[in-house]
Amino acid sequence: MITGTGAVCGAGLKIDSIWDALVQGRSAVAPLSRWDATAWPVKVAAEVTGVDNRTLVEDRKLHKLILRTDLFGIYAAGAAIQQSGLTAHRDALDPAAAVRFNDRCGVISGSGGGTYQNNYDFFPAFTAVAGDLKNFGAESCSTVNPMWLLRNLPNNVLCHVGIRHNFKGTNACITNQCVGGIMAVAEAAAAIRAGEADRAVAVGHDTPIDAETMLNYFQVGLMSPDALRPFDRRRNGTVFGEGAAAVMLEKAEEAAARGAVVLGEFLSSGCVAEATGVLKVRPDGDGLSRAIQVALDEAGLTADSVGMIVAHGNGTPASDASEAQALQRVFGKNLPPVTAFKWAFGHLIAASGILDLTLALKALEQKVVPGIPTLQSLDPEFSWLTVRPNAQPARSDVALVCCRGFGGMNVAVLVRAGTSPSGS
């Protein structure tokens, strides 16, 4: 059962404000502010702006030990844990029970695994040696921050969430590019089902708005210069966002016993590779359709019981076209309303799927499938796709969330609406 969610992205610092942006058609995609992009082929992104780091994580000492991506992850995980009320529950336990409780709390993170800018800390050393690499060691060891490696560990969010909340159970840091965050949710749920943990927080975080990353994505034809238009015939690539999202999961009996508000139920997941290398996707949507089928089979559901779909919809020509094929293959003429959210807050890479999942829960609660305002003209190649510029009603209380990434990765997750009022 999902008893807490948290998120931060360009569209807001709370799930509710991000949701409001989605239903009101407000996009956080804006001209890049982090550097002068006048001469750049890509001029937009959905940055998190106007937020003091201490609003995200109060502990200033910690800021020196972690990167921006980690701040987002620690913040989102903290929000999910806070909303679940588990900390107060633990505080009421006797000391021995609290020790046992902590050992049974898992932490699973999905991390971007690093950006190019992390390595620029070595630039002063390159400048100092002026081409003579013999002296590189002496220079790098005296100019680079001694904590460089620790700041750059992909698993920092995992460690610091563990330390801050005293969670000490099963753990993993998934560095599987775009699908890392949503796989964290799937692995957290699997750990609880297999009895390895009684509860676990899953968090995905990433900061792809990095100059060299953006330029490389543009060079390989994946970046839009101006806007993210999922499934539109004029779609021309993705737009980056940044941030994090988190989900607190716990055993159904325990959530019921302590009277927790249930925001949703994790039903099942499918995770498959297309074996196509780093960048390629199969045009027939093979991987995604298999992932969805695995998830349906595991949940014991048929395609017609799915009430809405949050597509990956990253706005690149190849991914959107093959995603439409995959949905056609599984759902045929019985396709429920489909939407995609990245137009509003950009593509958060490792955090994208888990952020979509937290918002899918909100959509189920509100029984509203938000429209895609940047969709002006549906690509006639898949005219049957049920995406709309305006909101549609959900067909049932089950949502499918799709997430795709480099390496031919495809993940599908099924969630059901919560049974209690969310009190939002």
């Binding site: 992390n118 060691g137 460089w148 750059n152 698993n155 000490k168 840091c173 560095t175 074996a275 780093v278």
Partner: protein
């Protein structure tokens, strides 16, 4: 409910500082022959630490063949491709078009990787002042290299290996620093148990033996500075130990659902029987002196495998040769083994091959499987002076014949992730 699926280890592949394949690695570890020496792949003469455990004279072209694939593979992914190919050949089974979707892939992999040359080029265009200026990237003279971009991705190994071997099922890459390889194998075990795959290629690969990686570990003070005496620099549990020796390499195992492996008449090295996984949640750099964290991982692993300390004969320790890790790990071993602490053989094979970071847990899992097959506890080399804080039953002097009913392999990572895998003798 169906009985839980069991998992067989049926193939092993390794590229390590003591051998470019598993048999050579194992022969050298048994003989206590080390791979620690002065670094020669780059000029390390002005680093505080100038020694490492390099994979020397690796013939990537000969081992991998496919030139295009080679171009897309970083140094560590090349190790991974070679080790994985060896594991498949050893197991005598490979994904086929009709069953590729039932094959999984789990890997403990390094961080995003950029070579020094690539970084130096960006420095020339964007960083001459020492500060990064993004304007240099849009200089028409600067040409981004899409192949280097693909190589740099944190999941590039996953992308290339699943493609090359035709693995179309569950796939994941995990990174919990030094615990990565162990956690990747633990994930594979769970994926087979829960039916998401029938066979998994599972392992780890890493290479941080480059000027950036070496700087990073030197700055943390984690490396031995025994530059004049590299052969003995890694001496886990010795009273005079003074840090680890940075290594590189890859290890992969073929894991199969037990009944299917039996039915096809596969040779089974050992059963991968249990996984334990905990967070110390203590301090980001420090291991808790009490062993809290590793204790839970080992206990869980034993419990998961249906074992007690009575059943254990061997532990392949994390044993990095740092003061702190070895003390903390021994405290955990004493707590978990109880009155069996004098009988269960313990060794750290990092004494010979250094610390393979994200690949360490995967290679060491392979070592445990070989130790079980051959009935040999490999030596904890380079040990001369006892440390009262490390009074466990070390395998000293030479490797020792020992019938191993069950073994554990520990991998304890920076940041407090602890992994412990349990293995069982297949005949028992």
């Amino acid at each position: 409910m169906n009985p839980r699926r069991r998992v067989a280890i049926t193939g092993i592949g390794m590229v390590t500082p003591v051998g470019h394949d598993a048999p050579t690695t194992w022969t050298n570890l048994r003989a206590g022959r080390g791979g620690l020496a002065a670094i020669r792949s780059f000029d390390a003469s002005t680093f505080p630490t100038r020694i490492g455990a390099e994979v020397k004279d690796f013939d990537a072209q000969g081992r991998i063949g496919d030139r295009k694939l080679l171009k897309h593979a970083s140094r560590s992914v090349r190790f991974a491709l070679a080790a994985a190919a060896e594991a498949f050949a050893d197991a005598g089974i490979r994904p086929e078009p009709h069953n590729g979707h039932r094959w999984g892939f789990t890997v403990g992999a390094g961080m995003m990787s950029v070579t020094l040359d690539e970084l130096q080029t960006v420095h020339e265009f964007c960083g001459r002042s020492g500060e990064f200026d993004p304007a240099g990237l849009v200089n028409p003279q600067f040409l981004p290299d899409p192949v280097a971009f693909c190589r740099a991705q944190a999941n590039s190994g996953l992308a290339l290996l699943t493609q090359h071997f035709g693995i179309r099922g569950y796939a994941t890459a995990v990174h919990t620093a030094c615990a990565s390889g162990g956690q990747a194998l633990g994930t594979a075990l769970k994926v087979i148990r829960r039916g998401h795959a029938d066979c998994v290629l599972a392992g780890g690969y890493d290479s941080m033996l480059n000027p950036v990686g070496l700087t990073a570990f030197c700055l943390l003070g984690a490396l031995s500075k025994d530059n004049e005496n590299p052969e003995r620099a890694s001496r886990p549990f010795d009273a005079t130990r003074n840090g680890f020796v940075l290594g590189e390499g890859a290890g992969f195992l073929i894991l199969e659902e037990w009944q299917a492996a039996r039915q096809r008449g596969a040779h089974i090295y050992a059963e991968l029987a249990g996984d334990g996984n905990s967070l110390s949640s203590y301090r980001i750099t420090d291991s808790p002196p009490s062993g809290d964290g590793p204790i839970q991982a080992m206990q869980q692993s034993l419990g998961d495998a249906g074992l007690t300390p009575q059943d254990l004969d061997y532990v392949n320790a994390h044993g990095t040769s740092t003061m702190m890790n070895d003390r903390s790990e021994c405290a955990a071993l004493r707590a978990v083994l109880g009155d069996r602490v004098g009988e269960v053989a313990v060794s750290s094979t990092k004494s010979c091959m250094g610390h393979l970071i994200a690949a360490a847990g995967a290679v060491e899992a392979g070592i445990c499987a070989l130790a079980i097959r051959d009935g040999i506890a490999p030596v904890n080399a380079n040990y001369t002076q006892p440390d009262p804080d490390c009074n466990v039953s070390l395998v000293l002097g030479a490797s020792r014949p020992l019938r191993i009913r069950a073994a554990l392999s520990n991998s304890l990572g920076f940041g407090g992730s602890n992994s412990c895998l349990a293995f069982r003798q297949p005949e028992d």
